[in-house]
């Protein structure tokens, strides 16, 4: 067991409402009428589709190829036919669409040939690729491709591997049930991670409101002879946040700016991810289903094992929602969102669907002005000052919000939970963050545009200089030639003409000659130039071209050759 547990600042205790849905075992969900599998279900590059409309697919067949290192493959959740690869609404708060593969199940649920990985013969890099090919991403909510986290930072020994089984958000019980029923597979998955990372300690953190799960995990750990520590942590939202759990179990505080916790020798994985990793390594099954909690304003709350891509409204029907349900919340009540379109499919990171009704979730009182009571600062687990962030975000003073560390905010909702003025603080922070990102993108684009503009001006100057140089050279050559001719003619012509010709500045004459030659050349080029694609014109096109030609003659515009004369550059700014 661990020496001691630490505390993190802040946190709140919302009513947990977990007994609603943790009384029944996990039920498998029946095949839905159609499956809409979004290709982009994780952080990182969008996978490329491998199938097209009309293709038959088998269960577990890869339908999306990972694009780059931070990406994971996508697979067909059941056997059937691909209806289309098109834009469909995805479960995102904007209601926007993304590319999805729509599959019509054939009812046979036929698996593609698959088998366990030969771990003895595989190097760590091979195992990473295996996990990527099987679409394993973090199931705790962010969906980061798991293989990207299975390497220690060079120079920093991996001290703790933490398995996040806290599940601190109210209503959600999918990890609870997973541990109660499938602890053995979970422990095997953890062992895979342990072998990859070689940490000094493996700690499984579970909130103490899940005694059965703790017991089941302990039994499984002992049965497999592993030295993992199953540690109950005090129930406090958001103890399940990665950084908060690290703090509780190890005392380390990971700063917000640190991209990877491996830089401090810690790595955290969700318990569901460990399970999915074992299904892949031990059985060759890609990630095509997950346990989803169906709860809220329903009669039959519980957990189901649902296929990725099941439309949400169909899935929620399994829990018999009450008639006054008026929406679906994806995620928990603290960090989830009301889905704008209920036909959106569930994705790999959908851990819970809550049926929303005004009875269960009364409409919030209107927003009052902030009275600076400081309750939010006392609740923030990152020890930020939410009211200061609110004032500055509201004033759109984004520099100041960054000074108050807005990007350290994990959007857990503790501040909005306690605010007596009912201010939706997290919404202001999300607004500020996305504005800051948008501005950074714009600034980058503006800097690049400025660079290209300056280069263009430099290039034009350079061309002018080159042309002047060329002219000067040609002029010199002409001058030499003329001088020779003049000398030859001078010996025959009357003497009176000589002074006049010789008096002509040779450079002047040469320049005039060069200009005349160039103009003659250009004229010849213009007359010789023909548009290239004039064979096999349709009568339509020929007529159009004649019209255009007529218009051009009228306007007096003639196409210039590539080396435009300096005169045209002045017409640009209008």
């Amino acid at each position: 067991m661990l020496a001691k547990l630490f505390k993190f600042y802040g946190g709140v205790k919302p009513p947990s409402n977990k007994t609603l849905s943790n009384q029944q075992p996990i039920r498998p969900a029946p095949l839905p009428s159609c499956l809409v599998v979004p290709l982009h279900q994780h952080i990182g590059g969008t996978p490329r589709p491998l199938v097209q409309a009309g293709d038959p697919v088998l269960k577990g067949q890869k339908i999306g190829e990972a694009d780059g290192w931070i990406s994971a493959a996508v697979h067909a959740p059941t056997s059937g036919t691909v209806v289309e690869v098109a834009m469909h609404v995805r479960p995102h708060v904007s209601g926007l669409e993304s590319l999805c593969v729509v599959i019509e199940p054939d009812g046979k649920d036929e698996w593609i040939a698959h088998g366990p990985a030969d771990r003895a013969a595989m190097s760590p890099a091979d195992i990473c690729q295996f996990l990527q090919e099987h679409g394993i991403v973090g199931l705790g909510g962010a969906g980061f491709p798991t293989h990207g986290k299975l390497k220690a930072t060079p120079g920093v020994p991996m001290a703790e591997l933490i398995i996040n089984a806290a599940e601190c958000e109210p209503y959600i019980t999918c990890d609870d049930l997973l541990m109660r029923e499938r602890a053995d597979d979970v422990v095997r998955g953890i062992a895979v991670f342990r072998d990859m990372l070689q940490p000094t300690q493996v700690i499984i953190g579970v909130e103490d409101n899940k005694p059965e799960a703790i017991a089941a995990m302990q039994k499984a750990v002992e049965a497999q002879g592993e030295a993992f520590a199953v540690v109950p942590v005090p129930t406090l939202y958001p103890a399940g946040g990665a950084k908060q759990l690290i703090r509780v179990l190890t005392g380390k505080e990971v700063p917000g700016a640190m991209r990877s916790t491996a830089d401090m020798g810690v790595q955290v994985f969700n318990v569901g991810t460990a399970y999915a990793a074992w299904r892949a390594i031990g059985h060759g099954e890609p990630l095509i289903s997950r346990i989803v909690t169906l709860t809220g304003n329903v009669r039959g709350a519980g957990n189901v094992e649902a296929l990725i891509g099941t439309p949400m409204d169909e899935l929620l029907q399994l829990a018999e929602p009450n008639p006054d349900t008026d929406g679906i919340i994806m995620g928990g009540p603290m960090m989830g969102f009301l889905v704008p379109n209920e036909h959106a499919p569930i994705v790999k990171t959908s851990n819970c669907l809550i049926a929303h009704s005004e009875r269960l979730f009364p409409p919030k009182a209107p927003e009052m002005p902030c009275i600076r009571c400081g309750a939010c600062a006392r609740a923030c687990p990152h020890e930020l000052q939410p009211f200061e962030l609110y004032w500055h975000a509201r004033a759109k003073d984004f520099g100041k919000t960054q000074q108050y560390h807005i990007f350290d905010c994990i959007e857990c909702g503790c501040c909005s939970f306690v605010c007596p003025s009912r201010i939706p603080l997290v919404q202001y922070f999300r607004f500020a963050k996305s504005e800051i990102w948008a501005r950074e993108k714009e600034k980058k684009a503006a800097d690049e545009a400025k660079q290209r503009f300056e280069f263009k001006q430099f290039r034009e100057e350079r061309e002018k200089a080159e042309k002047a140089e060329k002219l000067a050279k040609a002029a010199a050559a002409q001058a030499a030639k003329k001088a020779a001719e003049a000398a030859a003619a001078a010996s025959e012509a009357p003497a009176t003409e000589q002074p006049a010709e010789a008096a002509l500045d040779p450079a002047e004459a040469a320049k005039k000659a060069a200009i005349a030659a160039a103009m003659a050349r250009a004229k010849a080029q213009r007359e010789a130039a023909q548009p290239k694609n004039t064979d096999e014109l349709t009568p339509e096109q020929a007529r159009e071209m004649a019209e255009i030609e007529a218009r051009r003659q009228q306007a007096g515009i003639v196409p210039e050759p590539a080396d435009a004369q300096p005169a045209t550059t002045e017409t640009k700014p209008e």
């Binding site: 990971v254 009540p333 960090m335 200061e388």
Partner: protein, 340 residues
Amino acid sequence: MMFAPAPYLLKDASVSRVMTMVCLALIPGITAYAWLVGPAILVQLVIASFTAIAAEAVMLKLRGKPLAMFLSDGSAIVTAWLIALTFPPLAPWWLVVTGTLFAIVIAKHLYGGLGQNPFNPAMVAFAACIVSFPALMSQWPSVGLQMPFLDQLNVILGLAPRVDALSGATPLDAMKTALKLAEGQVDIAHLLANQDIYGNFAGRGWEWVAIGYLLGGLWLWQRKLITWHAPLAFIGGMVLISGALWLYQPASFANPLFHLLSGGTLLGAFFIITDPVSGCTTPRGKLIFGFCAGLLAYIIRVFGGFPDGVAFAVLLMNLSAPLIDQLTQPRIFGMKGKQS
């Protein structure tokens, strides 16, 4: 259906609840006040409350804000009660009305309404009135005076003449004037023996009012409406400086307990210093804010020209609160022990 954002579960809290609890916490002090000094205070509370609500309604209308939402938040009532409790109990009705109007209209709404005032509105009202009507604001009833309620009411409404019996100073003021007049010839212990003015620890009757405020304040702290930082620092600052001077010259300076239980010290510590809008918000900031206010209050009341320095001390610290806040920002998660 409106797409309301998360979180969908909220703690049972609201601004009106906060304000109601503050009013409830003032009840013990008000009870002691009405019992020991006279029921006139209740009349003043009523006058101030009505004026405050009326002024707030008019200002909200002028500013185009919804009335029901803002009138029911109770913040105007709290301001009104604080004004009524810091003004003399037999002050003319129009003085209380003026003070309340000043607080609500100028100190609160002209700065932007709820949550936007940089200065504590009740203290602004007190300061404005004591500077404009110094004589009227110094007419505190001698505690020995037990006027019937009807007479008290008549005095407030201006229907009865303001007799000399009213022109007793506060116990603090009496002490200060006596010391000044005597120019060091008089001993404090000698002064305190005057049972007409002074009770067991401090002003007779007034000390129990102060203890009433203390009880109310402790209840607020227990309910987690206020944190311990600001009140404790204020009391600490006051005790420190009064204790130091008393130890130095016990004949000329009253003991710390006297100062704690006199004037607006305990009312200020729990109800005025803790005003969230105009005070500091960081824990260290609150400590500095309270401590300096305590020091300043003592200095003004002993060495300055006013009977009690709490109002001016609070206003001075309100000025510096944003700077203090900026300088005392706490280190956030993950940035401790490093240069953030």
